[in-house]
Amino acid sequence: MRKDKGDMELAIQVAQPRLRAVPQEPAPAAPDPSDAELLARVGERDREAFEILYGRYVRPVFSLALRRLGDRGHAEDAVQEAFAAIWRSASTYRPERGAAGGWLYTVARNAIVDRLRRNGPTADAELPELASVEPGPEQRAEDSYVSWRVHRALEELQPREREVIELAYWSGMSQSEVAEYLGLPLGTVKTRTRSGLARLAAALEGESL
């Protein structure tokens, strides 16, 4: 093999094929049950409802746990415990007292705090802040809740919208690079980004969050 000094690339012969995007599942046609409806069903020990709820919330719960615990292993345990708590206490949820998303956030946060306490005072994520420029507890709590809501709302997007949103915001690619990567016209990428943002805004304004 030969190394090109200028750009660190090296000549190599490789077979095809090339990287291709995995086809995404189309969005289901039937209207999805609300979080409140699912919680009511979980309260009656409906396993299918629990799995749907899990699919909607596992990433927000894991994200929240990771923020608070700072350790992936502990965060994974906390997610298991949070959903076990949701399974146990779903029957106590009362829609008239608030949105299902807020109730789920509280249950998940409590499970994570329990895990934090069991881990003891050495957990890095809970070290006291000494003359720090880092955000204070209130700001961190607000940031956590914003992340929770946004990550939950992402689950509402169609797969093709979510794909361009994730690439546009967190891959480091420009829209032109996203278009090239997905093999789509730039205009299509921008249209999907726009419709995704609109759907996200609508979801964030929804009562269930």
Binding site: G55, R59, L167, Y169, S171, S174, Q175, L197, A198
Partner: protein, 206 residues
């Protein structure tokens, strides 16, 4: 990522008025929230009902049963996660961005591998390499995974060793801005060499 995108860059200047205000708010919240973390395979499926019940027992301090349940959780989660990872089920979350099949070259004709590329965060593309059939190498030699673009090696995505031809799963990262058409190869690296060695796994032709 090094720079946050602006709304104009993402959607152009078409939206105005209340719609633009709504989009701007969602845009700012996305930036504030940051990328959702990659979901570990262990969390792809919900805990079993039995798991939940056993955890309740722990809460009421039935310590022995709780320990058994915890062991069961670990075992079930590990088995489920391993199975899901191996099945590379595209319908589960997190969704794989791409899956690439690799076959052994003449140097390792019995080797096979699949490279699962997950959706990126902070400019990094997590990858899982499932490989089987590679030979154990002499001391100070190892296997290296290289990103290839337009027929040329662009950079390394990590290295690994094997203790025999059994199945092995390796987590890697591609810290590059990937493009459609990118692919990967696995090479055999000798001691002290920084140049890509001989290719032992290459993409399966379709």
């Amino acid at each position: 990522m090094s720079r946050e995108p602006t709304l104009d860059e993402l959607i152009g200047a078409g939206a105005t008025g209340a719609e633009r205000e709504q989009l701007q708010k969602a845009h700012e919240l996305l930036l504030q929230a940051g990328a959702p973390p990659e979901l570990p395979p262990q969390l792809l499926k919900p805990p079993g009902v039995e798991v939940a019940r056993r955890q309740r027992r722990r809460v009421v301090k039935r310590r022995t049963l709780a320990l058994l349940a915890a062991a069961l959780i670990v075992a079930l989660v590990f088995v489920a996660g391993y199975g899901v990872a191996n099945l590379r089920n595209g319908q589960s979350k997190p969704t794989a961005a791409a899956v690439l099949a690799l076959k052994g070259t003449a140097l390792e004709p019995r080797a096979r591998a699949s490279l699962v590329l997950w959706h990126p965060y902070d400019g990094n593309w997590p990858m899982t390499l499932n490989v089987v059939g590679l030979s154990k190498l002499p001391p100070q030699t190892y296997y290296e995974v290289y990103l290839v673009r337009d027929g040329r090696i662009l950079g390394s995505c990590g290295s690994f060793r094997v203790s025999g031809p059994h199945a092995l799963t390796v987590k890697l990262t591609a810290p590059y801005a990937l493009r459609r058409g990118d692919t990967w190869v696995v090479t055999r690296q000798g001691p002290g060499t920084k140049e890509p060695g001989e290719t032992v796994l290459e993409p399966v032709s379709t």
